[in-house]
Symmetry: D2
């Protein structure tokens, strides 16, 4: 799509978005992949990610990846959220990286960096 | 970070993840960016995306991007979901593209492509 | 609103709210029942209710209670949502029926009943 | 459970459920009130309640009702969650208090009260 050099085994977001399109097409799941259904599924999966953390103390939450079974669940839910987000973007024709870059630019104007020692002491 | 050639204005997911790290650091927001808070924020934003669609008929939902104000809201919420997902991944040390690639592979085993005319009539 | 005498075996919302308080106290779960944790749990359970419907067509969704296993899941998730809502209300000291009555009154002002044949043809 | 006589101005859950039915009917909103749409709306509102808490420290969250504007938002979102839950129950024919009572009974079997001083010292 673009003149991008990536090594094998390093898929880009666009590569994975296309794999998800092919995956759904091969299984004839497209009729279910309406924008509304995909937005619902995205919300459900985000809830499943939150579920892992709902009763954890801050200390337990910070150590969540030290426990293999929980770490697997976290990676699995991250994947599900990203998958439905990409499938939603396909369904409505939104380019997710462009949307995020534009939002960061708006936020840089909306939340100016405060003056003072923040810059000096290396916080960026 | 990697030997990837991308043109100007074509940020990768990793570029944007790093920009979000810098953005939060410059504003000293990191103390708020715990895994639990970010999982909650991700879920909240996914709900805001779903809100756009909750009362729409399938026809209205399919035409959502034809209406400029709604299209802007959709792009904005997609960006928010992706931003919090990337910030969550930073907080727990998960590589989102790896997590998704691994999940797609598990799903290819879990949901085999059905036999029959699916391949023939072009559904992939 | 009406004079109502409730007999035994017909618990009120307040009865169930109190039973949930006792249930958590007996199991020493109160330290986990912070407003923030309970708001997260409520959101997670609402997601689980939505999950039942996410891929259903309108026809399938309308018939959801005809299928015993799904009907049980629906009742179970309704109960979970209501339980966490009541526990949240306990944690923050909100009276849910008062809050809802006040909201309905605000909405009656905000969304006036349209003129015309709506009243005539029996829609209230 | 107890013999209770409710006077005027103390609506029961069922009174409010019925008022919501009348409210929607008068405005001809029933076609939108499908089980799937209402489950989505419930999830969206639960997210809005969580939003109030997402960046708060435990101390700030505990004091949320001391700040009048936030306290109003909390009551408002509690009302919205309860409203959509009741409307969902209407749409699928579930009796919410029965569903919750049955769930509490299942949970009493599933999570037995631990032995020891918990009952004696007042289940603190």
């Amino acid at each position: 799509m673009s003149e991008r050099v990536t090594g094998p085994g390093e898929p880009t977001l666009e590569d994975l978005r296309q794999r998800l399109v092919d995956f759904a097409a091969a299984r004839r799941w497209q009729p279910f992949h309406t924008p509304k259904n995909l937005a619902a599924a995205l919300s459900v999966e985000a809830g499943e990610l939150l579920e892992i953390f709902q009763w954890l103390t801050p200390e337990q939450a910070a150590a969540v990846m030290a426990e293999p079974e929980r770490a697997h669940r976290v990676r699995d839910e991250v994947a599900d959220v990203l998958a439905y987000l990409l499938q939603f973007c396909t369904a409505v024709g939104v380019e997710p990286l462009e949307a995020l870059a534009a939002k960061i630019e708006r936020n840089e104007l909306r939340f100016p960096v405060p003056d003072g020692p923040a810059d000096v002491d290396g916080s960026d």
